[in-house]
């Protein structure tokens, strides 16, 4: 069965610094999708970044980028120039195909220190 593990329940970073959130997953599929979702204190979850496993290039969205290591089954999220608005729960998720349900990690709470 596919699983997603986020080993850091909580992380903190100084404003303007860079932080990396870890995510590992277990699958026997060769093609799949990976996601990072952000849930701020307002609770509304939003998609941060999406990666397709067949693509070698790491996905990037402005200050957010991923380090996708397919062989290691690792999908970490790097946030550069951290801002107070980045404070949130971050969830890593996996899907084995486009119509399959997402498998979610337990989440990492990110605290930004001013």
């Amino acid at each position: 069965a596919q699983t997603v593990t986020q080993s850091q329940p909580e992380m903190s970073v100084q404003e303007a610094e860079t932080v990396t959130l870890s995510c590992t997953y277990d699958t026997s599929e060769s093609d799949y999708y990976l996601f990072w979702y952000k849930q701020p204190p307002s609770r509304q979850m939003i998609l941060v970044i999406r990666q397709e496993a067949y693509k070698q290039q790491n996905a990037t969205e402005n200050r957010f980028s991923v380090n996708f290591q397919k062989a290691a089954k690792s999908f970490s999220l790097k946030i550069s120039d951290s801002q107070l608005g980045d404070a949130a729960m971050y969830f890593c998720a996996y899907s084995k195909d486009s119509n399959y349900q997402l498998i979610w990690g337990a989440g990492t709470k990110l605290i930004i220190k001013p």
Partner: protein
């Protein structure tokens, strides 16, 4: 922007009550989902629907049912609420499958069953 509206932000119900959680989306999305979010467990899929009057069980459907009579509305029903159903409930919608298009979430309903 897609808007997913959950009828209640906080709800307190008694054990044995029938509980209705309502969710409405305004972007003509085919797919709608109900998740349960618990600390340390991430998000778990209760039910989803890919069309009007269609429903599929997710990972934890026991104790829940759903109704989708209109495309924009997806209701979660707790037939006889129990204390172990105290949780945060998130509704989401998407245009295509969960991996092909972003999930758009509501703000969540924090349900307490006493």
């Amino acid at each position: 922007d897609v808007k997913v509206t959950q009828s209640s932000r906080y709800l307190v119900k008694r054990t044995g009550e029938k509980v209705f959680l309502e969710c409405v989306q305004d972007m003509d999305h085919e797919n709608m989902f109900w998740y349960r979010q618990d600390p340390g467990l991430g998000l778990r899929l209760i039910y989803f629907s890919y069309d009007v009057k269609m429903k599929e069980k997710g990972d934890i459907p026991e104790g829940y049912s759903v109704s989708r009579e209109k495309k924009e509305r997806f209701s979660l029903i707790l037939e006889s609420a129990s204390t172990n159903q105290t949780s945060m409930y998130l509704c989401a919608s998407s245009l295509y499958g969960q991996a092909n298009s972003p999930l758009h979430f509501g703000n969540g309903t924090r349900l307490t069953v006493t």
